[in-house]
């Protein structure tokens, strides 16, 4: 196995923040670690890149146990949320910083830098100051700086959270493109499920220091293993302990004598969210905006299908 | 951006700076002192001096020129010299101790911190002004008197005091300032001199009365001079020298030699025990005892002819008359100091 994490445990002051996590990552895969803030995902990342010592378990990269290696001796690099680009160095110096520690000739370094600049579409910015770059460009330099040393594994800690919505979408595509070109294995940490769906080959859902479920996005959505995953990914109306209805799976038809009543309505553009009162219970309903609209107070017929959690 | 290299360079730079400033000045001025007549016997040698003031520099410069020795002076009170020797017994304070109340020299002799030296010309000094065992000698006398701010006294309708006895008069209450005798060697000499003159009992009675007239004691030797000049007080008890007369001229004051006797204290000179520059220091004492240099010293010190310990040498004319000097018992000058000061501090209480 490419990366194998086994029974990884971490405590801070007797409080366990990681409860013997075990999972694997395949070569050339992007694994997204998804969870609410404070769930332990950053700690997990710190254990992988070596900035935090562990209290149990092993991390094996390409059959080598790296659990107690110093960060600089691990073949793993990290893109931090704040980029941490050196303000006193220009773009090319930042990019090639990690090459300083490899035995490379000047020509080799320059060649690598050129290639990376091209890959990042920053060819004209080699000698620019970091401060003169836009947020997206800075993000790309940070990414490039970690990629240029050709690590076995790249970790990304919420790297796009400082960008605006549009740029974020673009960077997701960009990251996938780079991944395709460089065939690099990545672990990507985020709290944004859209981002997780867009980037991840597989998604590891975490809460309270425990792995809740690992699977691809579709599977997580359609077959959540427990209540946390159900509620964290997408919206849902829980019917019983293990039965739920996704809001888009409720169909409404206008009927003045229907036993459902529309109590609220939020227009979202492509979809419309309704709050529905049905047999004394409240439901959340999402309909596609296809010309059929209800007003608050309208009576409707309700049709739905319940799903079961696979615990 | 090699910060470490920079730090290395910095270290080299700092070391160089330290070397230049700490030791470099040995060589800096030697080339200029190519006086053809001088023997230059101490060329390359250094004499370290603790003195009561930086004002003696010209005399030391003259010595340097003549002998080639480099002289480094640090100005320090005699109390401080004693304290430093007590705390740091590992090495002598300096080579030469130049100036300061005789009590400190007597104390240092008792503590074994001085080197014996009998200059061939020391006989020229009156024997009461030098140690019979040859551990110290004096370079001149400091005499006590007072300075009066007439404007202040006039405002209060007070006459200018002429004698020590006048100061005990209660009409001068709150108008007299003197320094703490523990801080000022001259003040101690005045206190001790008057007790010697009047006798133990009458002496202390006198000081008790004066104490009633004094509102606080200065913590620095110069306080009485300055505070009388600024009009804070009408009468200041001071060491009388040229500086006192100069300051009187600047500030429109009057200097008074009390009619009922002038207390005095010899200013000491000695070589420190185990001084590395012992030979130079001894040569300096010989040099100082040459009449022309004695005269120069009197000028720098601002001393009257009658304040000079070597008969025949002329100093300034500050109107002092040798006859007016009090009869003092120098033998108990050092040994009584602690007792006198303790009694004094009990008397003045919190002032």
């Amino acid at each position: 196995m490419f990366l194998e994490v086994k029974d990884l445990t971490k405590k801070y002051n007797h409080k366990t923040v990681l409860h013997s996590l075990s999972f694997q990552v395949k070569q050339n895969e992007i694994l997204v670690v998804l969870g609410p803030s404070g769930c332990g995902k950053s700690t997990l990342l710190s254990c992988l890149n070596g900035f935090t010592t562990t209290d149990g378990g092993t991390v094996t990269l390409l059959d080598q146990d790296v659990t107690s290696l110093d960060p600089e001796n691990r073949d793993i690099t990290t893109v931090f949320q704040s980029y941490s680009l050196f303000p006193h160095m220009n773009v090319i110096k930042n990019l090639t910083y990690g090459l300083k520690f490899q035995k490379l000739s000047r020509q080799e370094k320059t060649a690598k830098a050129k290639k990376m600049l091209h890959l990042l579409q920053l060819d004209d910015y080699a000698n620019s100051k970091i401060q003169d770059l836009s947020g997206g460009q800075q993000q790309r330099v940070a990414l490039g700086r970690s990629l240029i040393v050709e690590p076995q594994l790249l970790l990304l800690d919420e790297p796009f959270s400082n960008l605006d919505e549009k740029l974020r979408l673009k960077m997701r595509q960009e990251l996938r493109r780079l991944q395709n070109e460089l065939n690099i294995t990545m672990i990507f940490v985020t709290h944004d499920q859209q981002e997780a769906f867009a980037i991840g080959d597989r998604i590891l859902v975490m809460d309270q220091g425990r792995i809740q479920q690992i699977s691809n996005g579709e599977d997580l959505y359609s077959h959540p293993k427990n209540e946390f995953v159900l509620k964290f990914i997408g919206d849902s109306n829980q019917v019983t302990d293990d039965e739920y209805i996704r809001p888009e799976k409720i169909e409404l038809t206008k009927n003045p004598t229907g036993d459902g009543t529309i109590t609220n309505k939020i227009f979202q553009g492509a979809t419309i969210d309704y709050a529905l009162d049905y047999r004394g219970k409240n439901y959340q309903v999402t309909s596609l905006n296809r010309g059929q609209e209800f007003k608050i107070g309208d009576h409707v017929n309700v049709a739905y299908r319940t799903d079961k959690m696979e615990g | 951006m090699k910060a470490i290299k920079k730090i290395g360079l910095l270290a080299v730079f700092l070391m160089a700076l330290l070397v230049v400033t700490a030791c470099g000045n040995n060589s800096s001025k030697d080339s200029s002192s190519n006086d053809t007549k001088s023997s230059q016997q101490f060329k390359g040698k250094t004499m370290n001096v603790v003195a009561t003031s930086d004002a003696y520099q010209p005399l030391f410069d003259k010595f340097s020129k003549q002998t080639g020795a480099k002289v480094k002076v640090l100005s320090m009170s005699s109390g401080e010299v004693l304290a430093r020797m007590k705390a740091d017994k590992s090495k002598p304070m300096a080579d030469l101790w130049f100036g300061g109340g005789l009590d400190a020299f007597m104390q240092a002799k008792t503590d074994g911190q001085l080197e014996k030296y009998q200059s061939s010309s020391v006989k020229k000094i009156d024997s009461q002004y030098r140690d019979k065992d040859g551990y110290w000698l004096s370079k001149g006398l400091t005499v006590g008197g007072f300075v009066v701010n007439k404007k202040v006294l006039k405002e209060k309708n007070l006459p200018v005091p002429k004698t020590w006895a006048d100061l005990a008069d209660s009409k001068y209450k709150g108008e007299i300032i003197m320094s703490d005798p523990a801080v000022s060697g001259t003040m101690y000499a005045i206190v001790k001199g008057i007790i010697d003159q009047k006798g133990e009992k009458a002496g202390w009675e006198y000081w008790n009365k004066v104490n009633d007239n004094i509102s606080f004691y200065g913590k620095r030797g110069k306080d009485p001079q300055e505070k009388t000049a600024s009009g804070e007080f009408g009468i200041g008890i001071i060491p009388v020298d040229k500086m006192a007369f100069d300051s009187a001229k600047q500030n429109d004051l009057t200097v008074v030699y009390p009619k009922d006797g002038i207390p005095w204290v010899p200013e000491g000179v000695a070589v420190f025990k185990n001084a590395p520059g012992k030979k130079v220091a001894e040569a300096f004492i010989d040099f100082m005892l040459e009449p022309k240099n004695m005269k120069e010293l009197a000028k720098l010190d601002g001393k009257d002819t009658d304040q000079i310990i070597m008969p025949g040498v002329k100093g300034l004319d500050l109107g002092l008359n040798k006859k007016d000097l009090m009869k003092e018992n120098l033998s108990t000058f050092g040994s009584d100091r602690t007792a006198v000061l303790n009694k004094w501090s009990d008397m003045v209480g919190d002032k």
Binding site: E72, T78, Q102, R145, S146 | L14, A83, A182
Partner: protein, 554 residues
């Protein structure tokens, strides 16, 4: 990325050990020696001394507490004025405050006696009063005045960190000037006010010069400690006095650390919006602080005016005349002292800053507990009286294994390690500006500890380093207490010469030396600020808040 970091790990270890050892040997050891010595030596026990001299302690505390209150109020007023005036005036006033941080006590006291003495120009000539100026009132007033410049600079640094939108939004909600100050500015200054108050308290406890000059018969611990040495040669007594002093100073200090943490860690949020200042000139706060500030600046002008006047004039029959005589007279007093003082100050500034930045690297960046202890030991020379530190050196280094008294090195070492206290504070503030991930990035990409220093720590704190250097330089130029018992012939420093000529009543010469010291400090400040401004532009985007933060230390 092989395991090739043996060299860097060795360097790291060596630096760590050298730092620890040097602080223990040159700060902790001297203090310990004096404690041990004073308990071992025959004579009064500490307890006897303390009980017999309760009045001294009471006096010291009284002076320190009153000075603390007065100086805090005064510096608050001086600070508040800054929100009412334009940038240009701010710069002028800040320059005045910077210059007057260098304040020889004799200057303050001399002007005070001239103005408010029994024959003072104001009290006697103008108001026809004859008031006794000597005593606690004189000490308190003089100390409060001379501490205010530094205090105000600390507070002004905090004002500059205020989030502009906070004040702008308050104003748009209709807040009057007084309520802005009461509800926003004062609460935000609060931790700073506490720090400033405690600094004043500690400085007042340790000040031995002002009480000896104008205390009259009023005795405090610090001056008695100094006099015990110079008049009686009684070092045992001096040690006892200093130990007594150390108790309130240490209490003050631990409070100070607590609040100082808040000051140095808060407020990196200045988003650089529209500056809300100057506020309209109205309201009670404006008038009260104007009156107090005017009083303060007039007092400053009188004090420093009197130095300059003294330096270029002579008195004859009670009248002043212009004369270059004082300047000419000063020559023989100084000779090679100027060069030596400046060199020592440069060395102390650089090495003191370097040591402090390394300590902060370990204690702050690496969160090393041992180094945090070392950092705390490093602050002792700041809280305990300087004379105490000097006496400690005299005791500790006059015997084997380290016998260095009498050398120039001991003076240099003393001034270097005296810096560490303040320099670590400044270093901490500069280091707080660097996000921890920068250090991680270096390791992540294969670098080592040495690369952290080379590529992140020193390059990214260079402005802070420059300011720390300046601070060390100025405080070495003006230091007295800690080296007064250490210098031997040929090692004198300018302040000591000045102190000495003041003792001898040579005020003219003292004034010339004071002017020279101020001038040298100004030139150094000019050079340092010039260098910073040259390189500042490139950085402005990245460290928007850094500058305002660092001004806390300047």
């Amino acid at each position: 990325m092989a395991k090739k970091h043996f060299g860097s790990k060795t360097i790291n270890l060596i630096v760590f050990i050298v730092l620890s050892l040097s602080i223990l040997v040159f700060i902790l050891y001297p203090y310990l020696s004096i404690f041990i010595e004073s308990f071992n030596e025959p004579g009064q026990t500490f307890f006897d001394f303390f009980v017999n001299n309760l009045d001294l302690t009471k006096n010291s505390l009284f002076i320190a507490i009153t000075t603390m209150i007065l100086s805090t109020v005064l510096s608050t007023a001086v600070t508040l004025i800054f929100v009412f005036i334009s940038k240009k005036w701010q710069q002028i006033l800040r320059l005045i405050l910077l210059i007057t941080m260098v304040s020889p006590p004799f200057v303050t006291s001399l002007a005070y006696i001239t103005l408010f003495g029994r024959r003072g120009m104001i009290t006697h000539d103008l108001l026809q009063l004859t008031i006794n100026p000597y005593g606690p009132q004189g000490i308190i007033l003089m100390e409060a005045l001379s501490f205010t410049s530094l205090n105000a600079l600390v507070l002004i640094g905090l004002i500059n960190q205020l989030e502009p939108s906070l004040i702008n939004s308050a104003r748009s909600l209709g807040a009057k000037v007084d309520s802005i100050i009461k509800d926003i500015i004062i609460p935000l200054l609060r931790p700073g006010l506490i720090v400033v108050a405690l600094i004043s308290f500690i400085r007042s406890l340790a000040d031995f010069q002002t009480p000896t000059i104008i205390g009259g018969s009023y005795k405090v611990l610090a001056s008695e400690g100094y006099l015990a040495v110079i008049s009686m040669g009684d070092i045992h007594q001096a040690a006892l006095i200093n130990i007594t002093l150390a108790i309130p100073a240490l209490i003050g200090f631990f409070l100070y650390i607590k609040y100082d943490r808040i000051v140095t860690t808060q407020g990196h949020e200045n988003s650089g919006g529209q500056s809300p200042f100057p506020l309209p000139k109205k309201g009670a706060f404006f008038w009260i602080s104007s009156v107090l500030s005017i009083f303060f600046y007039i007092a400053l002008i009188l004090q420093y005016g009197s130095i300059v006047l003294n330096a270029v004039s002579e008195k004859f029959m009670g009248k002043f005349h212009f004369s270059l005589q004082p300047i000419l007279q000063t020559g023989p007093y100084l000779n090679d002292t100027i060069l030596r003082t400046v060199s020592y100050s440069i060395i102390a500034g650089l090495l003191g800053s370097l040591i402090s930045f390394f300590i902060i690297y370990y204690s702050q960046v690496k969160k090393n507990k041992w180094m945090q202890f070392i950092e705390m030991v490093g602050t002792f020379p700041y809280i305990l009286p300087g004379t105490f530190f000097g006496l400690g050196y005299l005791y500790a280094f006059s015997k084997p294994p380290l016998q260095i008294t009498g050398t120039a090195i001991i003076v240099v070492i003393n001034v270097i390690f005296k810096q560490v206290a303040f320099a670590t504070k400044a270093a901490k503030a500069a280091t707080n500006q660097i996000e921890p991930t920068y250090f991680k990035t270096v390791h992540d990409l294969g670098g080592t500890v040495v690369n952290e220093w080379n590529d992140v720590f020193f390059p990214m704190t260079k402005h802070g380093f420059a300011l720390t250097f300046l601070n060390g330089f100025i405080s070495t130029m003006t230091t007295i207490g800690s080296i007064i018992f250490l210098v031997h012939p040929g090692q004198n420093m300018m302040t000591l010469v000045m102190f000495d000529v003041v003792q001898q009543g040579q005020y003219q010469v003292a004034s010339v030396i004071a002017c020279l010291i101020i001038l040298i400090c100004l030139i150094a400040a000019g050079i340092v600020f010039g260098i910073i401004n040259l390189s500042e532009r490139d950085w402005s985007h990245v460290f928007r808040s850094q500058r305002s933060n660092q001004e806390v230390q300047s």
